[in-house]
């Protein structure tokens, strides 16, 4: 599935969250939308799944404008993971993952088989599948959310800051696992992050945004070798964007 934004504008009140951007998300590649808070990167994801409508420009899927698609059918081809996982608290991990399977009246054996596959893929412990979200660690919650997003084997996977709420060690571990999952599945993946390290680690293409616009895009090595402007240089210097510096691990 190829997703394309052409001169897309999205305004909230007087300000433009997305200000006339052109982006193409290539099939089978992982793209990181990177930038400080409020730069419009999460809005791009919401536009792609039709949660918000653009005020200008065009979004197309496989060459056809988004409104021409059956949006419900399209969403089944797209997995979406939000920042805090968004699990239903009254359902166990397994029930959260297989929610759509029950909705679609899958045979229980098929659902159980798929659950096992996903648990293995995401390295989720089998004995934790019967736990409720409040009995899971932050990293496990995100693994369940990723399993749920992958249940229907979507062509595209969207992840909105999936690691930002995790403590550093869990974050690093899940980041490495995500990289493995993306490589294994070879799906079109779009991940939103404000952390350059995550973007560099996970993505084939990094799209650096500021104030609703794309400042620079390309492989991380290109951004590192030839920063397009001082904003890019400053962003790379802090690792987290000029507005939220992260203390490096040093010996002190």
């Amino acid at each position: 599935m190829e997703l394309r934004l052409s001169k897309v504008i999205k305004r909230y009140g007087a300000g433009a969250a997305v200000d006339g951007i052109d982006l193409t998300f290539a099939s089978g590649k992982t793209t990181a939308l990177l930038g400080p808070s409020g730069c419009g990167k999460s809005t791009v994801l919401r536009l792609l799944v039709g949660l918000v409508a653009p005020d200008g420009g065009q979004i197309s899927v496989d060459g056809r404008p988004l409104p021409a698609h059956d949006i419900e059918a399209l969403r089944r081809r797209i997995g979406y993971v939000i920042q805090d996982g968004g699990l239903f608290p009254h359902l166990t991990a397994a029930e959260n993952v297989t929610l759509m399977a029950r909705h679609l009246r899958w045979d229980p054996a098929r659902a159980a088989k798929r659950l096992g596959e996903l648990a293995a893929l995401t390295r989720f412990p089998a004995d934790a599948l019967a736990r409720y979200p409040n009995e899971l660690s932050g990293g496990q919650v995100q693994r369940v959310a990723i399993m749920r997003a992958l249940l229907l084997d979507p062509e595209v996977l969207l992840l909105d800051e999936p690691l930002s709420a995790l403590d550093p060690l869990v974050r690093t571990e899940l980041r490495d696992d995500l990289r493995g999952i993306f490589r294994t599945l070879a799906k079109t993946v779009i991940i939103v992050t404000h952390d350059v390290g995550e973007a560099a680690h996970l993505a084939d293409v990094v799209v650096l945004m500021r104030a609703g616009r794309v400042v620079q895009q390309g492989p991380f090595a290109t951004l590192a070798a030839s920063p397009a402007d001082p904003f890019v240089t400053a962003f790379l210097a802090t690792g987290n964007g000029p507005s939220s510096p992260r203390p490096p691990e040093t010996r002190g």
């Binding site: 736990r131 409720y132 009995e135 403590d167 060690l169 690093t172 571990e173 490495d176 350059v196 390290g197 560099a200 680690h201 492989p219 991380f220 090595a221 290109t222 951004l223 590192a224 070798a225 920063p227 240089t233 790379l236 210097a237 802090t238 690792g239 987290n240 992260r246 490096p248 691990e249 040093t250 010996r251 002190g252």
Partner: protein, 354 residues
């Protein structure tokens, strides 16, 4: 010192004062600063001290240099891993002019061990293949290659003993840019840049196959790892001091790079690389962990040292240091003021503050 740090230190000092500094039954408090290598070295001290009858407490990642050093001076901490360069270049910089580090520490009621063997200094590094192709082996070789792209962490860019001084000492023709340390490794690996600063025991040196350039004009200060401890610990717990002095000269840079890699890159808990390392000769006399775990537990949650001694999966200390315990799982929410008694059940326990 910020108000928050000062407040934290005041609490630590108060806690230390309540226990009585010269009480031989008082727990020996080991601390570490907040980065991987410090935590590993601190854990080694804990393991060695635990081979004595002493009660050992570990305050891992207590804070930055200033907090941990002042906690040591105040008696809230008994020993922690430090670097000679950090003491002589930063925290005791004015006092060491014309005097030895040992004298300055003694004035403050502190002592140091000999070096543990590793020197975690600054250095410059390049990808091995690129350095070999250009024939670059030492920093002065960079002078002949003005086209090379250099990046340094912000700390090195701004410190007098960082890029400004290095640039002048070697008359380097390149311009340098600031880049986050972890990002710089990635940029170097993907050929986005050519030269970066490293700490000489960084896990990534081996992982990325880097060549560390020789500092042929001796610009960078040595940062030998040592243990700094309270002088009164010699009288109070000489067995503990003797136990951790067994680390002197035992950990070279290659070993430390391997241990850092296991913790930072392989995600093995920072508590355990030291234990599982085949080169852990200094630690072989540690007691059987299972028996240590089955000792009667004190009332309330176990100390951090108990947790680490039991090789369990402790929950986040910040959430669980106080409060009661209950078994994980929806059906069983029975509270208990005492932790489980042996290692295996620990692995199935989580905790919540109540």
């Amino acid at each position: 010192m910020t108000a928050a740090r000062a407040g934290a230190l005041a609490l630590l000092v108060a806690a230390g004062a309540c226990r009585g500094k010269n009480d031989p039954g008082r727990a020996v408090v080991v601390a570490s600063k907040g980065f991987t290598e410090g935590v590993i070295l601190g854990q080694m001290v804990v393991e060695l001290a635990a081979s004595t009858p002493a009660n050992v407490e570990y305050k891992a990642q207590l804070g930055g240099t200033e907090v941990v050093f002042h906690a040591l001076e105040a008696g809230a901490v008994d020993v922690y891993p430090e670097y000679t360069g950090t003491l002589t270049q930063e925290i005791l910089r004015k006092e060491v002019a014309g005097r030895s580090l040992e004298e300055v520490l003694a004035d403050r009621g502190l002592r140091r061990t000999r070096g543990l063997g590793l020197d975690n200094s600054y250095a410059l590094a390049m990808k091995e293949a690129r350095a070999a192709a250009l024939g670059i082996d030492k920093i002065s070789d960079l002078v002949a290659h003005p086209e090379l792209r250099l990046v340094f962490s912000n700390e090195v860019m701004s410190r007098a003993d960082g890029w400004p001084g290095l640039h002048a000492r070697y008359a380097l023709p390149q311009e340098a840019r600031g880049m986050d340390h972890d990002l710089a490794y990635r940029a170097l690996a993907s050929d986005g840049v050519d030269v970066m600063d490293v700490y000489t025991t960084d896990a990534e040196i081996r992982a990325y196959g880097l060549r560390v350039l020789k500092d042929d004009r001796q610009f960078f200060t040595r940062y030998d790892a040592i243990l700094v401890y309270r002088a009164d610990l010699e009288a109070r717990r000489p067995d503990v001091v003797a136990s951790f002095k067994r680390l002197e000269g035992r950990i070279d840079n290659a070993t430390m790079i391997g241990l850092n890699a296991r913790a930072k890159l392989d995600h093995v808990s920072a508590r355990w690389p030291a234990i599982s390392s085949p080169r852990r000769s200094a630690l072989r006399a540690a007691p059987d962990r299972a028996s240590a775990c089955s000792r009667p537990s004190p009332a309330g949650p176990p100390s951090t040292a108990r947790w680490s001694a039991c090789r369990c999966s402790p929950p986040s200390p910040s959430r669980c240091r106080s409060g009661s315990w209950r078994r994980a799982g929806r059906a069983s929410a029975a509270s208990s003021s005492a932790p489980p008694a042996s290692c295996r059940p620990f692995r199935r326990w989580r905790c919540w503050c109540s």
